[in-house]
Each structure stands twice: as structure tokens, then as C-alpha cells.
Symmetry: C2
Subunit: 222 residues, 2 copies
């Protein structure tokens, strides 16, 4: 991801930062994993975690056995980043190459979710956030399972959104370089669902698992 | 990403950690961005960055104007994580839901690349790594551009690979739950290239930009 550079003849500002909640929420809702960063005695960790947005906070999910989750729950400063890579930007110079992306970075302290009732709600929210509709079919968690599950809650208060879109921004002097330039868009797609080989009986593939990403996006907007 | 859990009746260990260089290299070579974590005075940052693997080290790329890049170059401990999300795993219980993924996490100290010749080589390696073939067509960087570019070099020495694949791993007691179970595979695809509207003259879309991800994968294996 190219950080803003010193190019002297930009035709427009391609990379931009904002603090719009609606934009952050849209990026978070499209995402499925977050990269969660924190430091223990100066040693940084960046761990991919599942999460669910619920209003103005995130639930981060892990196993309660995890030592790192526990340290996080003690109020360590955390940085949670969710990034979508939207395309490669092929400029006229190697220096001008870039990527189109949308990224949100949230800073703050996470709260350890201790209450069993909130844990139950958080797990349902996680399943709803990842696979809307799935809570109606899967068996809900029992007490032992909730005990083995850990959630952290992080407010979406201190955050920034960074994004780049559009074609290369080559300086005027490069316009005569004889090469194709443009973008190669990238996209995440869901493939047809694969049956669990241990499935017993005759179960139709549920609607929410077919064309999953588009169905999910529509359901989360409801 | 569900961390290993306390499920008591696993049919097999679905999540596994290893330290195989070949596996780490394959995950890195498939990736286009890394999430780079470090802490300044206890404040963690997780920043998406472009990178290139070259043998047993990574070049991380940023703008030399970046204050954070400079701090990293002073030998701060860093954690670089690259993750591919391969699919959603829909189990019989909400608790059993998971994701299939491949992730590599590298720890260490990055070296600031000061030498202009190495910077030039690093930029070429970055362009080759991201868009094999592009160096032959794009204008190479001039001294001013190299001056405005920053690279960090990080050895791939202390790292771990974590991955999950396959169907849900429900316990025997859940086999009678009446629901469809299985995986929804996810994949990143490249769409047809989009011409830069400022392009002058008649330039054919280059071969490496068409079916870009598959061409890239094949070229990086050569």
C-alpha cells in the first residue's frame, strides 16, 4: 500500500484519509477478518481474528484459553485494522505504481466480556455478522461452550479511514512513456458451497450459503 | 479466525501451526499486502503495506516521508502478518463455526535500506513481485524518486505458519442436528484490466495484466 508520496505534480489527491463513521462501518461490514495488533513488553503481535460490528463497537473473537486474548482483555492498547484490496494500479513509472484499497484502523482499549448473557449475545451477533441467517439453523451455544469462548469489545471511536481509488496519477512529464497504463481490479468471490462429507440425511444447501457474499452484504444492510 | 478451542471431541486437529519455510514462502508469494505491526511508546499500529519477498527476506515499502517508517527503520520490533481467507466453515453448532485460512506471522527487526543501489534493486523486486513483467515496460525510478521511497528489509527467520482447511469438526453429539453443514470457499479474483483514461496512443493491454493473478502465480514460480 503506497503511503502518500512526494510526487510533485499530482493531478488529484489519490490517497485520502477521513474519519467518517459511515465509511468505516461500510468497510468493517464488508470484512470478515481483522488484523489485531498489540504489544506485550515491547513485542508486537498482529493476529488475524474474526469480529462482528454491532453499532459503534466491535466484538473480537477468540478462545478464552488464549493467553494473548487475556492480556488484551486487561486493557492493553490495541490497533485493529481491516483492509480491502480493490486493485493494482499500473503507472507509467515503477515509482508511480500503487494499489487501490479501503482500510479502517481503530485504536483503543478493549473490554473483556465476562457476563455469560453478553457472551451469548456476542456469539449470536458474530454468527449473524458472518453468515446472516445461520443462527436460525445451527445449535446455540451451551454453558460449557460459552465458557470456552472469549470476546473483547472495542469501541469504534478513535479510528481513521484510508482509501485510494481510480487510475494512476502520473506526472505530466511521463505522459509520453510508451506503455499501457490502467487498473487491474481485484475482488473476493464466494464459490459454490461444499457439503460436509459427514452430513447425515438430506439437507438442501441453504439460500444464504449460495452466492454467499452478495447475500451477506444485502442482509447486513437490512 | 478461531484460535484453537477446547472442543473435547475433535476428529482431527483442524488448526495447525508449523515453521516450514516453503509454506511461509508460498503464502507470502500469493499475498499482495502485509499487515505490519509495531508499537511506539506502547501504542500499537497495524499498517497495511506492500511488500516483496526475495529469498529469505521481505522488502517492506513505504514513503520515506513517513514518520512511522523511519521509527521502524530504527530497529523497532516488528510483526508482519499475511493472511489468506480461504472459506467459511458452517458447523452444526454456532460454537463450531470457523474459517479456513492460511497465515504467516514474521517477527524481527527491520533494517532501513539506505543505499541507493539497493533501493533501486528493491523497487525493481517489488514491481516484479507484484506485477511480473512490468519492469520491462514502466520507466525506471530516477534519483529523486528513489530518494522519496523507503524500504525496510526484514529477515524471514523467526516466523510461524498457521492454517485451517477442510470441513467442520463437529463432536459426535452434534451429528443429529438437522441442518446443512459444509464450507463456502472464498477466493480473490482479478477482473479485466481497465484502461487509464489519460493513456495516449494505441497500447495493447499487456499479457500480464490479463488473468493477472494466475499469470503472477505462474511467473513467481519460475
Amino acid at each position: 500500500m503506497s503511503l502518500p508520496t512526494q510526487r510533485t505534480e499530482p493531478r488529484q489527491v489519490a490517497d485520502r484519509v477521513n474519519h467518517e463513521f459511515a465509511e468505516a462501518a461500510a468497510i468493517l461490514d464488508e470484512g470478515l477478518i481483522a488484523h489485531v495488533g498489540f504489544a506485550v513488553d515491547g513485542q508486537p503481535f498482529v493476529i488475524p481474528m474474526t469480529y462482528a460490528r454491532e453499532g459503534e463497537h466491535l466484538y473480537l473473537h477468540g478462545a478464552s484459553v488464549s493467553r494473548l486474548m487475556k492480556r488484551l482483555g486487561e486493557g492493553l492498547e490495541v490497533c485493529v485494522t481491516v483492509t480491502h484490496l480493490d486493485g493494482m494500479v499500473l503507472a507509467r513509472s515503477t515509482f508511480g505504481h500503487s494499489m487501490n484499497y479501503r482500510s479502517v484502523m481503530i485504536f483503543g482499549q478493549a473490554r473483556w466480556v465476562d457476563d455469560a448473557e453478553e457472551k451469548d449475545r456476542a456469539l449470536k451477533q458474530l454468527v449473524h455478522f458472518l453468515v446472516p441467517g445461520r443462527n436460525d439453523e445451527a445449535r446455540a451455544a451451551d454453558a460449557k461452550e460459552l465458557n470456552a469462548t472469549a470476546f473483547l469489545s472495542l469501541p469504534i471511536k478513535e479510528f481513521s479511514v484510508k482509501r485510494r481509488s481510480g487510475p494512476p496519477q502520473d506526472p505530466a512529464k511521463d505522459m509520453s512513456v510508451e506503455t499501457w497504463t490502467g487498473e487491474v481490479p481485484l475482488r473476493v468471490v464466494a464459490e459454490p458451497p461444499v457439503d460436509d462429507p459427514t452430513m447425515q440425511g438430506d439437507h438442501t444447501t441453504p439460500n444464504y450459503a449460495i452466492d454467499y457474499l452478495n447475500k451477506r452484504a444485502a442482509a447486513l444492510k437490512e
